[in-house]
């Protein structure tokens, strides 16, 4: 199963929430997301339309989504999410690369209906390691 096949099956574009291994595991197991408290557009779960393609994706994400303030080990998991679910949706921000699903003041949230798949970058390539099936 490839990302393109997942998207074709879902019939919708995905966004990607980049994170580390532990946080990816929390999403995988419980759909538990850590909202971004330090980001410029308020509390919420952040995502981008930068798709995981190759090693350069990591650099792109660090530059465009983290202002250069991250290392590869912090963002080598891409959580594919639907743009909307159950009437709630990720909204674009003033930054063309960043989308946000506002969570109020909640830092740790369960998100239902958004999760599609998890991809891991192992230093060489991206691979899908879990899907919502």
């Amino acid at each position: 199963m490839t990302l393109d096949e997942l998207q074709a099956r879902a019939g919708t574009e995905f966004l990607f929430h980049y994170t580390d291994a532990v946080r990816a595991d929390a999403i995988l197991a419980d759909r538990l997301f850590v909202a971004g408290p330090r980001a410029a557009y308020g509390f919420g779960v952040y995502a981008t339309d930068i798709a995981p393609v190759d090693g350069e994706t990591i650099e792109d994400v660090i530059v465009h989504c983290f202002g250069g303030d991250a290392e590869a080990i912090e963002v080598n998991h891409a959580i594919a999410v639907r743009i909307s679910a159950h009437g709630r949706r990720f909204a674009p921000t003033a930054d063309p690369y960043q989308w946000i699903l506002p969570t109020g003041k909640l830092e740790l949230v369960y998100l239902e209906g958004f999760y599609v798949a998890t991809l891991e970058f192992d230093g060489r390539s991206w691979a899908i390691i879990d899907t919502d099936e």
Partner: protein
Amino acid sequence: MTKQSSARQKRGRNPIRAARPSAETRARLAQSELLRDPRIRSLWPQLEPSEQETALGPTKAVGHRYPLTTSEVAALTNLSERQVRYWGDNGLIPCWRTGRKRLFEAAGLISAYGLARAKQHELQFYRGLIEEPVDDVATKVGILSSVLASRLEDIEPNEAKTVTASLGALARG
């Protein structure tokens, strides 16, 4: 239906809900937070490409995702299990515990790689900081501060920022 999906279904239709993670998940998330700590970030660029690859995805090396056990960290870094336990118990290799078992996330593995390439006299210095009386530690830190202040006079502001980032993190506690 799995236990997890059943639990998720019981939470209802509200797509965004406050999370109350288990103690294990909280412990792991605390380790995840350490990846943003300047003390860990400063080690990451020093790792060999093969070490970075293993830290990014340990599955190829150990057959599973994080967390790693003491023996796995020892095998990956060429430290002894005793060293991993010692440095883990003294905070130099971050870990969390379930029962008597120490478990290591990426921050722990990165720190272990850093310690594995430290020279014997450096390890001796760190061990002294851990084991010597507080007065002796204060003396060492005083000397270290003086050396650091002198060194900072001669380096670029960006380099100085890198050098002092860990101290800032320490001060913030």
